[in-house]
Subunit: 89 residues, 2 copies
Amino acid sequence: MKRAGAWLARVSVGLKPDILDPQGKVVRGALGELGFSAVQEVRVGKHFWVRLRGSLSRPAAEREVRRMAARVLINPVIETFTFTLSRAG
Amino acid sequence: MKRAGAWLARVSVGLKPDILDPQGKVVRGALGELGFSAVQEVRVGKHFWVRLRGSLSRPAAEREVRRMAARVLINPVIETFTFTLSRAG
């Protein structure tokens, strides 16, 4: 039997909508100065690509990703996250 | 006629596959110490959510996003990017 490939979780972390994003403001300002006049707003976030052992079931892998996001990857006071989970190629 | 909503570009920036990611290694180490033993690798990247004027055509908006990524958002020596473009709600 072919072994299942590893899980690949892609965790996308961003500031909550009501939290100011000074870094995004700086990027927006730089873009404006360079002539990108169509830009109205920029917000910056982080990305984690996490490879997990393929022997986990999908529900177990999802649980692990949620736990690690809440405990390590995000600051739940100001950030939220979404993620997708797929088998690595 | 209803005005079209703004464009929302979601630019995802990551290190090229052959570039070492010390930040990802640190996160992986922290996860391991906390008992997340199924984690095999972590890579870290950035995200930019960019809102653009809705009066641009889709091709013009895509061109703007590619130009701003190459000139401002990424370091083309070590990073690559992908993006999606959709009408804001």
